[in-house]
Structures are given as C-alpha cells and as structure tokens.
Symmetry: D2
Subunit: 343 residues, 4 copies
C-alpha cells in the first residue's frame, strides 16, 4: 500500500542513518556539548547568515513550541496565534500546561493578517480593563502554516514591524521550514527569517530527521540558563549527539534544502495528477502538503489502496483530505496513485 499519510512516515534520510552509524562508537559527552552539536550550530549559523545566533536542539515540535514560548514570556503574558495555529489546536494544551494563554486571532488560509494583528494589539491597550487580561507577549506564526501556505516577505516584514512597535518577539514555528523555503512561490529566504524573527526553529522531524528541531535565537535573546529550563521540562536529551549528528548532516552539502526541494517537486507532480483528474483543492498550497476535496464514496474506496490523512469535513458528501510528500516519496508512489485515480 502506498502512503502519503504524512511527511514523517519513513525513518531518516539515508545520509543521516549513514552518519549516525559512522559516528556511533565515538565517546562523546552528553546534553548537547559534543562536537557534532557544535559543528551543526556553526553550519546553521552560516546557512542563515547570522554568526551571532544561538542555536539549541530539541526533540520535537510541540516540545519546542512549549519550551520556547514558556521561557520567553513573562508571567503576565500569553502568545498570539492564529486560531488554526498548531499551538491553538493540535498540541493538547501544551502551552496552557506551562501556565500561559494562547490568544487566538482570526486567520486567512492559516495565516495571521498584519492588519488583524495591529488591531488586536491596539484594542488591547485601549481597553480600560486590560490589567485584568493576559498581556500579548509574543506572536507565533508557522511557516509553512498548518494549511501549507506561506507568508510573503512583505507580510512577514509587516508582522515583524508590528512586533517591534509593541516590543514583543516574533516566533516562527518552522516544523516544515524546508518545504517553505524551497517552494516555487516564495520570496522568503532563511536569512530573511533570521533577520525578521526573534526566535524560530528549523524542523528536522518532518524534513528528513528521525527527530529534532534546531531552535535559533537571533537577537542575543536566549533565555538565561536555558539548558536548565529545558531540563525542567523533561526536554533535555542525554545523548545530544543524536540531534547534533543529524543536524550536522542536514546542513552539510545543503541536504536540508535538497530534501525540501525534492519534496516540493513531488508535490507539484501530485498536484498535476489531482488536477488532471478533475479534483479540487481546499486551499492553494505551494508546499508539500496538499489538501484535496474528495467525495466520500471515492474517499472510502481510495482508502483501500492509499494512505492519506482525514483533515476536516467539507460538506455532507465531501471530505478534505491531506496528501503529503517528503524525501521518501517516489515516482513509483505517484504512478500507483495515478492508477488508483484512474480506476
């Protein structure tokens, strides 16, 4: 059975497995202090064009979100996010678990609109009772969003400017950053992100690693004793090498970007296949996640031969489903999908 269930159905990119194997017997100290972590940090700093960045590694996306947000917010603050943001919906309350509120904003195609953000902040401070309310202390955006969409450079600049005006950090969740950067329809580079965001992470789990997210603090703003806060949240990996070797490999010879590029190419082909079969998209996604509207009967029948994800009900007779590509998607997968659609 072919699978487009997610971009994390396979293990790691073979090059990563090779490097883990090669370095396996070396004696290294723990907790992110080993030479591979150091080397990975250096390579990431170079790739983003910011020598002063602080880079730390965490295991997963929800963990990264909770650690970053809760260590950067003040007690009286919450984080602004789109209603459809990952932290608003699919993290089982991980941010609230740390004692902080997610302040939900309406969205368009999964994105926060600069105008809405500015209005929200203005209204907050105009409100006479705002001392009884959670202060907006950070803005969270995901890029690509949960719907595979991307901010334009102009939008990101505006959001960054608003954050700057209100002196709150902009945090970019880059769980699928590789696909966003390599999209045919983007003018945002990783250097732009490093410049415009105060903190972001480069997703590994969904872009070729077994696990791991590289958190980048861009403004000398890494929380004090960050490692202790990470430990306190049960998020400190003893064998930090597992993350170091992986990111060192991903940032050697542009592997991270090549993975992104390849998956985008496969996604473009996937799109063509769906279009040529007269299927409609729920949203126009320029990245590796494609949201297709299927008739319920057809969906049930396809399920027998293809794995994909339920997304949401479209109407009584139709459902939105997600197909994702990754480094592990093959042309054979696409051929088989085509065959299924032609049945």
């Amino acid at each position: 059975m072919i699978s487009f269930e997610s971009d994390y159905i396979a293990g790691a990119h073979p090059e990563i497995i090779r490097r883990l194997s090669e370095t396996n017997l070396e004696a290294l100290s723990g907790y992110g202090s080993d030479k591979y972590c150091e080397s990975a940090r250096d390579k990431i700093r170079k790739a983003i064009g910011l020598e002063s960045a602080d880079v730390e590694f965490l295991v997963g996306g929800t963990q990264a979100n909770a650690v970053i947000i809760s260590t950067m917010l003040s007690d009286y603050e919450g984080v602004i996010a789109a209603k459809t943001g990952h932290i608003s919906t699919h993290e089982a309350g991980a941010i609230e678990f740390t004692g902080h509120e997610v302040l939900e904003l309406s969205e368009k195609d999964g994105k926060i609109m600069p105008g809405d953000l500015r209005a929200f902040l203005k209204d907050f401070y105009a409100n006479d009772t705002h001392e009884h309310m959670t202060f907006p202390g950070m803005v969270y955006i995901s890029h690509p969003t949960e719907y595979g969409t991307l901010y334009s450079k102009q939008e990101m600049k505006e959001i960054s400017g608003i954050c700057h005006d209100y002196k709150i950090p902009l945090f970019l969740d880059g769980a699928r950053l590789g696909y966003g950067l390599m999209s045919k329809n983007t003018d945002v580079t990783i250097s732009d992100i490093a410049e415009l965001c105060d903190v972001f992470y480069i997703g590994g789990t969904k872009v070729g690693a077994l696990c791991g997210e590289a958190v980048v603090f861009t403004k000398g703003n890494k929380p004090r004793h960050f490692m202790t806060s990470v430990k306190k949240r049960g998020a400190l990996l003893a064998k930090g090498r597992l993350l170091g070797v992986q990111f060192d490999t991903l940032f050697t010879d542009d592997l991270y970007f090549r993975i992104g590029s390849y998956a985008i190419e496969m996604a473009e082909k996937l799109k063509e296949i769906f279009k040529s079969h007269g299927l409609n998209f729920y949203i126009d996604s320029p990245t590796n996640q494609q949201f297709v509207i299927l008739e319920n009967d057809r969906m049930e029948k396809m399920k027998e031969k293809v794995v994909f994800s339920f997304w949401e009900k479209y109407d009584e007779d139709h459902t939105v489903v997600r197909f994702a590509t990754s480094w592990s998607t093959t042309d054979v997968d696409l051929e088989e999908l085509k065959a299924v659609l032609e049945e």
Copy 2:
C-alpha cells in the same frame, strides 16, 4: 459624584456589617469549620432545595472559577466557555495558570447556544486527531452573563442535557446570581440551577458581601480533599468566619434575594431614564448591568459628574458603557443621573 461604576462600589449590606460586628468577639476555629459556616451551609441547602449539596466558601470569583475548574477537570481536559465568558477574557489567564485550556465557543448575547455546543462536541469526537487535542471536560456558563443576559430554563435544560450526554459537568458562574434570579424576565429558579448544574456558585462579592462566593456541588461530586486543593491554591481563608457570617446573613430572611430584587428595581428605573432620553442600549439586559451606547462627546462630559465603566468601542463616534445598580444604589442617585442627562 454619583457612581454606577459597578455593583461592588460600596462595602457590605449594613445587615452584614451588623452581624460581623455582633459576632466579632466570639472565639471560633478557622478555615471554614466554625458554626457560622455550618449554619450558612444549611441555609443555602434549604434555599436551593437540595439537602445533599456540598457547600464551600471561597473569597472571590476568579479564584472560585480557577479552583473549581482545575480541581474538577482531568489532566487531559479543558473547559468550554463562551468567547465572551469571564474566564475567556477578564481573568488574566487564571485558568491557564492551572494548566488547563479554555475552549472558546461563539456566543449570542454572551450566551452559549445549545446547538453550537452540541456541534462542537460532536465535531471533536468525529475528528481523527482528537487524541492530540484538549478534551472538552466541562461546560462553563455565567448566569447572568457578562452582558447581563440570562439563559431561559429551556436553554439551560438543553445545555445540561448535552453535558449529561457527553458525561461532562455543567458549571454555572453565579457571580451575579442574585440579580439573575430576581430579574423580571426569567423562569429560572435557584432550585432549577441546583438540579441542572453539577456545580455553581452563589456570588457574594457583587451581591452585598464584602467578599465571598458560596460554591455548591450538587451531585455528591465535591473533589476529594477539596480543602487541601484550596490551600494549595492559596485560597483558604484563615478566618473562615468572615465568609460564614456573611453568607449566614445573606441567607437569613431572604436577604440575598431582597438585595437582588432591589437592584433589579433600580435597574428598571435606570433603563426608563435612559430610554426617556432617547439613548440606545447595546444589548437588552434584564438584570442589574445596563449597557448604553453614548456619543463620545456626551460620554466625556458625563464623566465629570457620573462614574460608569468603559465597556467597548461601538464605532468611531460611539462607545458602549456600563451602568450597574446594587443594594447601595439610591433614588437620589437616579435623580442626579436624570439631572445630568437633562443638562
């Protein structure tokens, strides 16, 4: 200067002050174990017609909300509330501080609509990824709502029925309960509330007490070692008598209901005054809070002679403001207001 700023601008109803004074020298044990607390519990049980109810006293409304919600939810659960609910907006993240998410629902006039609630719950369990989401573990309603509106008995029954179907408790925030019960436009009695809700509180702070909320668990469902959980949240009052004597007084000779009734009467008069001066209401409130739309110029001018609360911007030229009545509102206050309006 006359004030309609809130229903807690004065101290306590004089009868309460009298009783605090009278009992002041008695030696009583602490933490809610004294005879006045016991007596107040008995009187409340009688007033609500439920001998088996568990009654506990807390100091304030936000505290009551946080204590009740966080001790009744399971780890993986959050609480459903209207977007405009007090816990969603004006408690500075007090629920999130306890590690739980507030699941916001759209509202009508400050109320959760039964249909929306049922749809939300149905969709939640229909969602394939709901194990990654906060489970809905309780429904929070306020009665009167933050906009002074009231649930009808039919609406409350439906909401209670839905909660029952999904096996989650219904919690009613009665910070202003006295005004809701004594409204001319309600068919909901306190016995109905005791029957339909799993837990609720009878607000003292805003209905004649110096402070205090009487929490009522109606189904033998008081959390185990509740007093220890209250202590753990810094919410256990050493001199529990302060709450006991007050509620004992409020539930002697129907004082609580008489206070509610009086304030409603004053609110009706207030309404007439505004109407007769051609002013419009933002919402049709049948309780002691009245939301009036004022031209900004007029508002600024009135501020010099009357205290009221900013509520929200209506449009560029108008503002919604709140006038509240209570046991301490006098006919003289109303006459003076009239005079100001006639200027």
Copy 3:
C-alpha cells in the same frame, strides 16, 4: 470554654470593625485603587521609614507566599527555606503548584543559620552538574518563625549579606510580624527589615485584621504588571477597600504595634503560669506562641476546658501543644487557665 487555639480565633480588632462600618457606604473603586489603600500605603511607608517602598495588599499568608515567590523567581530558580518553614510544610504544596521547588535547609529553632546558607550556596555552584539542578533564586525566612523564635539583627544582617553576595533576594514572611517586633527579646526593628530584606509582608490576619497581608517591595523591585499576576492567581480582591481600611486602621496611632505589644504581655503572663506549674517548654519562644510539653493524660483532661493546638508528638507519653495569645486574649482567660492547671 477558653481558647488559646490560635491568634486568629476572634474577628478583627474592634477599631477595625468600627472603621469598616464607618466607611461602608462610601462609593470607592475596586482592586486596591481606593483612597484607603493609598492612605494605608503611605502610612506603612512612613512606619518602615522607606518612602520609596511599593506596598500591595493580599488576602492571606499562603497566598502572599505563593504570589511573591512565583512572581520574583526566574523559571530555573527555586526558593531556599528552612525545613520547618511554612512553605516547606503547611501550605499543601502552594509553591510547587506555581512550578517552583522549595530547597529545604536544615534549621535551628526554626531558623536558617547563616553558615548553613552560605555553605549551601557555595556547594551549589561548586557542583559540576548544577545546570541540572534548581538554581537557588531567593531566600525565605519567617520572623517570627513557625516556632515563635526570632532572628537577631546580626543574623538577619548576615543572611542579607549572603543574599547580596549571590545576588538573590531575601524574602521575610511576616505573618506574625507584629509579635516579633514587640517581643522583649529582639533588637530588630521594622526599619531594619525594610533595609535588610528585598521583600516582606506585614501580617494582618494574625495580628488583628479579618484578613490581609501588606506586601512591601523595598528595592524598586515590584514585579512588572504585578496586579495582572495577582489576578492570574485568583488573588485580586474586588473590594480592595476591605484591605485598605484595615491596614489604614492598623497603621493609625500605632494600632499594629499596640496589638503586638499587648499579645506579648499576655504571652509573658502565660509563660509564667506554665512555669509556676512546673511545665516545660519545647522551645524558648519570645513571642506570642508558646510551645508546652504536656503529659498525654493531662492534655486529654485539659482539652475538656481549654482549646489549644496539637503541635507534634514529643515522646510516647508526651505531646507538644501550642498556646497562642492575641489582642483578644483577656486576663480572665489567663485566670481560667490557671484554675484548670490547678485542678
């Protein structure tokens, strides 16, 4: 039945009741912004000799401890306290509820010894793995301690100096401060405390008020948006006047100190009565709490006529019990106690 159960068995000092009654009908705004709170703040600043102090009011002691500690610590920090400290033992985990660890230190007569404190801090930083441990971020002392004992000025200076060396604040829990200041055996004044501590509170609940603790930040170090953090913890009293009027009264004509003085006098008489009946003390307390060792048989018999508190088991046949005095203790109470002892 006479009672020495605690120093909060009675209501409030009659002068406080009188003032609450007198000011009851005044319309005042809420949340600590009223003129009585302002006046109380001023009087406290004068009484402690520190015009720049920030003064805020909270309802109870455990609440004050949790609010102060959790808003002043950084994420990676915990608070050092004596093993017998109130926060270590009798607050049901209120500090831990805010996500912070209490780092327990051994004690002598309820007090932290400066040498132990310095050794603890030195060892912490000497430990190679301290990045995996909770950082000591504050020192908590109670004065009087839970055993009624007092720090000498010299001891307090040394502890303050150590805190200064390690750049962590010294926090003094003054739930019973009035008795400590008025003890015959102390050289510590309230100005000393304001000078040596970074934050402390002046206990009202146990020194004549119905409830209330006045928190004093002495070094321009009140946490930002403190009121919002207080609200977030459910600790913001709507009718702030209840606290303002009480502290305004307590700091008018030295009432707070007179209450302390009177209770100390009664405690001295109590001590004499016990001594003259050949009873031994568990600890030599110079304040209003006296810890007496009773034979179990005698204790059971006394219980029929006198209320006091169980403290701890002394040995198989003896128990340590506590007798407390306050403004409400009378000479008649003492006479009756004498009579019981003579039976």
Copy 4:
C-alpha cells in the same frame, strides 16, 4: 583519551543501529502506533511475565519521571522520594514544574528504608493539620539507585506492602534497570518488579539505546487518555518507530540483559583494578557505576588521560568521582586505565 564518563557516551548498541537502518524505508504511522512498537510491547510483556501490562514509550528519564508522576498523582498529592533520588536533586525541578511536591525522605546508600517510609506515612496521618499538607500519593524508588545500589527483594516487598497498606502506587525508576537485574548481588528479577511495583520503566538511554524508556503499568492503571497527557507535556514522539525499533531490538534474543551483563562484568574488572591499586570506594556498588575516592592531586593528573565524572567533595583533599561501564566499554579501555593508575 579513554572515557568512563557515563553509560551514555557511545551511540547505540550496533544491533540497534543495524535494525534502524534496515527498517528505515518502511512507511509506518506515527506516535507509537506502528508495528515495531506493538512488537516491542509484546516482547516486554513476555520478558516481565505479565501479559496484562500496558507498555508505552517515552524519550528520556526525567521526562518519564515527570509524565508518570504527574499523571498518576491526584491534585492534593506529592511523591515520596529519597533525598538523593534523581527527582529530588538532578531534574531541575521537573516534578515541581508539573505542580507537585517531592516529599523527601532520608536514605541509606541511596535507598529508602522501609521503616522510615512507614513512620513517615503514619506520622502524616497522625498530624492534626495534615489537611494543610501535601498528601503522600506515591512512592518513588530508583533501582539501581543514584549510587549504584540495589534493593533486596525483601526490602522491595516491604516497601510494596507499605504502599499497598496506604493505597498509594509504588513507582520504580529503572533508568539503569538492566545493570541492576544483571548484578551479581541481586535477588530481584524483572518479574518481581512487575509484581511489586505499580508502574516502572525500563531504561533504554543508559542501557544501549540512542534514547527511550519503556514505561510499564502493571495493574491496569494506565492513566486515561495517557497519550493526550503525553502530548500535553511535549513528550510525544512523532516517529514513534525510533523507540519501537530500539526496544524491539533490545528485547530480541535478550539483548537488553546481555548488555547489562556485559557492563557488570566490565565493572567487576574495573573494581578489581581500583582495589589492586589501593583505592577506596565511597560506596559498595554492585552495578555499573563505581564511586571511587581520589586524592585531589591524583584526580587532576588522571583527568589528563581519562574522562570520569565529578560526584561530590569527600574532604578537603579528596573527591568522590564516578566511573561507569556500558556495552561500549572495552578491555582495551581497562588496560589503558590500569596503565594510567600505574604511572
């Protein structure tokens, strides 16, 4: 340079790397639902002789401790642990971060003594004010302990019996379980643990895996919606296969036990080497961690050629250091160490 720094200086046991590589391209669903997780669960159930056990995988030890403890305790409860327990000292307050107190007990050689435990519990319930204290809601033991020591079967039985008497679960932290089970000086089997403990985990990180701990609930007591609680704590691994494949491998052909056995053998040789050089041990450890007392000068000199861990100061002139063995320790390492000692 040879290293005895810890039992996690190398990557994973080569057999694990081989299996990760072999299964790498298979398309598998996430979050612990794949066939390798299922197979690993089955094998673990067989290995512990308890078909009804629930097995779940987490990434690391501190994370496992925090997740297990906080999902199994009631709101008003804390966890009892030895003062030297990992959760008491080296987890940066991870348990407190979840809102629960660690109730520290004195220890002997890192172990809780059954008599101390019983006395603690008895005293707690004898205390009149225990409603103001954190209830003991679980007992945490580590086996081996942080000092490499082991409970005897008799001790474990007694502790389990006490827990049973007080109806609180016994939780065993088995971060290094493999070494405990394979020690020459133990009469405790993994089946004994499954029988006597209510929950425990089988450590992978320190016994041959890249990461991972297998949590075993033995009494049908897995917390409801455990996966959601895991997600809420940022502890749910997307590519659950990484844990599944590793534990499936560890429990194939007894690899887990063979790793334990091998490291114990190396530790025995290490012990002999130290003894034959006249060095003393801080504690008599029968497992893979050896605590040696070194003169400070010698320690400094050795550091140039051997990596080991600082443990604690012994006296002014001596230090306790730790040497750990694992599957990756070789005879060559031992020979080199011997050479260094003979210098």
